[in-house]
Symmetry: C2
Subunit: 225 residues, 2 copies
C-alpha cells in the first residue's frame, strides 16, 4: 500500500475555542471549502462510510479527507485507495479535535482546490461533541450493534449533529435494535436532526446520505451570496 502523509497535531493554546471555530468557519466560507465533521464511537464505520461518500460524490466535488486518530495510519491508507486527497492526523493521545487542531489539519491537507473537506474525528461519543471544530455541518454515525439507547446516554453528541447515520442495518436481524425507538430517542435530543439508515458495507442508503450532503453543500453555497 502506498504511504500516506502523517501530521502530528499540536495541542492548542487557545482558551476560547468557540471564537477560533467561528473564525475558521468564516475563513473556509471565504475559500469555498465546505467542512464536514464526522463523529462516532470506535468502529461504527466512519472510514467505510467515507469510502462510499467519495464514490458517490467524488465526481461532483473535489474531496479532501483528514483522518484523525490517536495512533496508526490504517484509515488514511484505506482512504488513499479511493484516490481522494488524504492526510492522517495523529492527536498524540488527545480524545478530540478543537478548531485550532482542525486548522492545523487543513493546513497539512493543503486544501487548495478542495471543495468538500471531511474530518474523520477521533472515535469517541463524548469529547468531540464538546468542541466546535469550525465545521459547516456535523454528522455522526450510530451503528446498530451499539444499541438503540445511545441517544439517552450520550445526549450532547446527538444534540450537536445535523444528521445521524444509522449504520450496519444489514445486521439488524442479529441485534435487539429498534429503529423506531431510536428515531424517537434522537428526536428527544434533537428534533431537527435528519436520520438516515445506511449500510456502508453494501451501499444501502448511501444515495439518501449523498443527496442530503449534496443539498447541504448547495444551500451553504447559496447562502454565501
Amino acid at each position: 500500500m502506498k504511504d500516506v502523509r502523517i501530521l502530528e497535531i499540536r495541542q492548542s493554546v487557545f482558551a476560547d475555542n468557540d471564537r477560533q471555530a467561528e473564525a475558521l468557519r468564516a475563513e473556509l466560507r471565504e475559500k469555498g471549502v465546505f467542512l464536514l465533521n464526522l463523529m462516532s464511537s470506535p468502529g461504527a464505520g466512519k472510514t467505510t462510510t467515507l469510502m462510499r461518500t467519495i464514490e458517490a460524490l467524488g465526481e461532483a466535488f473535489r474531496i479532501g479527507v483528514m483522518e484523525a486518530d490517536i495512533d496508526s495510519d490504517v484509515d488514511a491508507r484505506t482512504i488513499a485507495q479511493s484516490g481522494a486527497k488524504v492526510i492522517q492526523l495523529h492527536t498524540g493521545g488527545m480524545c478530540h479535535l478543537d478548531a485550532a487542531m482542525t486548522r492545523q489539519g487543513l493546513e497539512g491537507l493543503e486544501t487548495g482546490d478542495v471543495e468538500l473537506a471531511i474530518l474523520e474525528n477521533v472515535g469517541n461519543l463524548v469529547c468531540p461533541a464538546e468542541f466546535d471544530t469550525g465545521a459547516s455541518r456535523n454528522a455522526m454515525i450510530l451503528s446498530v450493534p451499539e444499541g438503540d439507547d445511545k441517544p439517552l446516554k450520550y445526549p450532547l453528541m446527538f444534540s450537536v449533529c445535523d444528521v445521524v447515520l444509522i449504520n450496519k442495518i444489514d445486521v439488524l436481524p442479529y441485534f435487539d435494535f429498534d429503529l423506531e425507538k431510536c428515531r424517537e430517542y434522537i428526536r428527544m435530543r434533537n428534533p431537527d436532526a435528519r436520520v438516515i439508515p445506511i449500510c456502508a458495507k453494501t451501499g444501502e442508503g448511501i444515495d439518501a446520505w449523498a443527496d442530503w450532503l449534496r443539498a447541504e453543500i448547495r444551500s451553504w453555497r447559496g447562502s454565501m451570496q
Copy 2:
C-alpha cells in the same frame, strides 16, 4: 421497574490523580473490597457482561455495581434486576472517572460488606484509560462489530488492561473480524493481557471470564497477608 439511586458526581479538585488512586487502592485493600474497573466503547456490552458476571459470581462474592454514565439510568435499572447492589453515577458530561470520582461512587454505593465492587466506566476508549481509578484490576471489552484493528488505534486502553474480553463472538460470521489478528495486535500493545472471547448474550465464554476474575480476587486476597 424499580427506582435506582442516582448520584451526581462532582468534578475532582485533585491535581495528582495517581496519588489519589494509590491511596484509594490501599484503603480498599484494608477493607477487603476488590475493585474492578470495566471499560469499553459505547455499546460494546458492558452491562450485559455484568449481568452474566453477577449470575456467575453472585453466590461466591457479595457484589456492588457502580454504573457511570453521562446521563440516563437505564444501565442501573438493568443491573438492579439481578438483585445486586447498584448505584447510577452521573458524570455531568465528563468523559471518564478519576480516583476521587470513583471514591464518591464507592461512598454512594455504601460498600459495607461488598467484596467485589465493579465500576462500569463511561463508554469511551480514550479518556478512561488515562485515569487510574484506584481499581485492583482493569478490564475492557472489545466487541466484534468494532473491528479487529482497535488495538492499533487506541493503544493506551489496551496497554492498561489486565484482561480484554472480546464480546459478541456470536456475530463473527457477519463481520470481517480476524480473532487471531486481533490477539496479535493486543499482544503488541500488552503482552501480559489475558484475552477471553465471550458472548454475553448467550453466555459463551463467561465461565472462562468468571474463572479468571475469581482467581484474580483470590490472588489479590492472598497477597494481602
